[in-house]
Amino acid sequence: MKTIQFREAICEAMSEEMRRDESVYLMGEEVAEYNGAYKASKGMLDEFGAKRVIDTPIAELGFAGIAIGSTMTGNRPIVEYMTFNFSLVGIDQIISNAAKIRQMSGGQFKCPIVFRGPTASAGQLGATHSQAFESWFANTPGLKVVVPSNPYDAKGLLKAAIRDDDPVIFMESEQMYGDKGEVPEGEYIIPLGVADIKREGTDVTIVSFGKIIKEAYKAADELEKEGISCEIIDLRTVRPMDRKAIVESVKKTNRLVVLEEAWPFGNVATEITYLIQSEAFDYLDAPVVRINTADTPAPYSPVLLEEWLPNHEDVIKAVKKVLYK
């Protein structure tokens, strides 16, 4: 094993896949000469050249569409968005083209493409730069949505995403790129659609994904001191969701808290809550509690941002609520 940063895990995954398959290229703003806005493509221009590591102007719609079009003539592009907040100006290309071409063409064309970049909030960036669209993309048949939470998962999942023959939305976080973690020296792949039990426990199930899961770890550490055992499930892939893993865990613990950094209306937590009342109703000892951001745009002021964003104290409160403590 070796210890690397999250950004290095992303870089290794992309570089290994580009060595393996000539049809893979990386395209996006600042990915080449600048080495990536968050240095996730450091050194890749030097290794692969300007044909395969391609700087773009600020034209998210245009380069998303060109990348999607190139899948129809044999490419497997990786498109980097500096943040998924910027994907909105190109979202028609993702929703109406990438997610639809296979179905509309009756299976004639596939669309093997990865759109990747950071999602959700990253400090005091204000309303336009703090949005989490996992549930928007996951709502769309034709797409897959992956949200890793550590370097090991990021590398294995990104390699799987690049090899996948369907379009994949791969969402990272500005606040995770510096996180360190162990990864194997050799190659490994983590299949999409499989959740990971990050901690086993017996009293309550906490389901989460992405960087916010770290608040669940902190909460579980504190709750352990009080004798409360939390099982933490990292979805890793939001679509398709590993429904079996969630249901099985809830059947064991009988209590569920869902932690998701997103607005509350119709989000991933809502979907999980529906799933559990449908599949494990008789196993529940308490109503499901979800923890999301406030139902408002993200604020700038630090005091308000703290109020807006879920934290480990919210998780502790939620766990105690489902335990009636």
């Binding site: 049809s23 102007p57 245009g62 998303a64 060109i66 079009g69 003539t73 509309m104 048949p141 996948d164």
Partner: protein, 332 residues
């Protein structure tokens, strides 16, 4: 470009007439409610397709267009039976009934759709060309759209990128005068759409889109430029559609006399007159062609009528390449 011979004129006449009658048949069966959804017909614009196909190398060149897209794949080689069946929603259709009128595709004949979002296909067309350039294929992509799409941001982002990356693509604006019910004059403070290319230093110009010879010559120059590394061209084809934007269009935005004026320069009539003038064929020969076209269209209708609808399972088979994708169950 191959010379425009007697055989070419005769082929143009038969092809264009077939496309016209194919669309007329669709209008008829639409009224009978055998074909549903939106239906956008190509009547009047046939010279653009005929001229383009003459200049293309159909062994490697590609085409993508918007939702007025029934006859282009036929011109490129797709069996018209299968296009008609697609509109009937039948399993024998080009997309097995998944796409319908606005979404005809043929990978085999390099027709890349069939796109329902105005201007959404413009970057895809440049991307298809990007893929060809990446892989060293010397095909050229014709990226077609209407005058309405020329006002979308996607056009401008794509023009910039296609020039920046010197992509082998020809951008084709089929200006038929109206974006649904809004005339070109009412969509911008200028009406010469081809001039949009000037801002990107892209070779560009207007073309008489009612005359297949003029069209073929313009496309030949543009395709040759793209194939020899000269990058994109933007052509504005001045054309006209006789029917409404779609079948539900009452056409209050124009006069009947305007439509009649354009019918005087109808591309099929123009080609027929040349054939008769130059004695490439007699009136009797023309009647034989007309009969053949009528019979072929009837055959398409019969094939579509008699084809089966898809099995319900097909709903789930077309979305993902992954064979065991775990769809959420939606019915009890």
């Amino acid at each position: 470009m191959q010379k425009i011979t007697k055989e070419v004129y005769l082929k143009w006449y038969e092809d264009m007439l077939f496309w016209r009658k194919f669309e007329d048949k669709l209008a008829a069966v639409y009224i009978q409610q055998k074909v549903r959804g939106f239906l956008h017909l190509y009547n009047g614009q046939e010279a653009v397709l005929a001229g383009a196909l003459h200049a293309m190398d159909l062994t490697k060149d590609k085409m993508i267009t918007a939702y007025r897209n029934h006859v282009q794949p036929i011109g490129m080689g797709v069996d018209p039976n299968r296009v008609m069946a697609e509109l009937y929603g039948k399993v024998t259709g080009t997309s097995h009934g998944m796409g319908g009128s606005m979404h005809i595709f043929s990978k085999e004949f390099r027709f890349y759709g069939g796109h329902g979002i105005v201007g959404g296909q413009i970057p895809l067309g440049a991307g298809i060309a990007f893929g060809d350039k990446y892989h060293g294929v010397d095909g050229v992509t014709l990226c077609c759209f209407g005058d309405g799409a020329a006002r979308q941001g996607s056009l401008h982002e794509t023009f910039n990128l296609a020039m920046l990356w010197n992509l082998p693509v020809v951008f084709v604006c089929e200006n038929n005068g109206y974006a649904m019910g809004t005339s070109v004059e009412r969509t911008a403070n200028h009406t010469e759409i081809w001039k949009l290319g000037l801002g990107y230093d892209m070779p560009c110009g207007p073309v008489d889109g009612m005359n297949p010879v003029k069209v073929a010559e313009a496309f030949d120059e543009a395709i040759t430029r793209a194939r020899t590394g000269g990058g994109p061209t933007f052509l504005e084809l001045k054309t006209y559609r006789y029917r409404g934007h779609s079948m539900s269009d009452a056409q209050h935005y124009r006069t009947k006399s305007e439509v009649e004026e354009y019918k005087k320069i109808d591309p099929i009539t123009q080609v027929k007159e040349i054939i008769l003038d130059k004695k490439y064929a007699s009136e009797e020969d023309i009647k034989v062609i007309d009969k053949r076209v009528k019979e072929r269209v009837a055959e398409c209708e019969k094939f579509a009528e008699e084809s089966p609808f898809p099995e319900k399972q097909q709903l789930y088979d077309m979305v993902y390449e992954q064979e065991d994708y775990p769809f959420i169950q939606h019915k009890l």
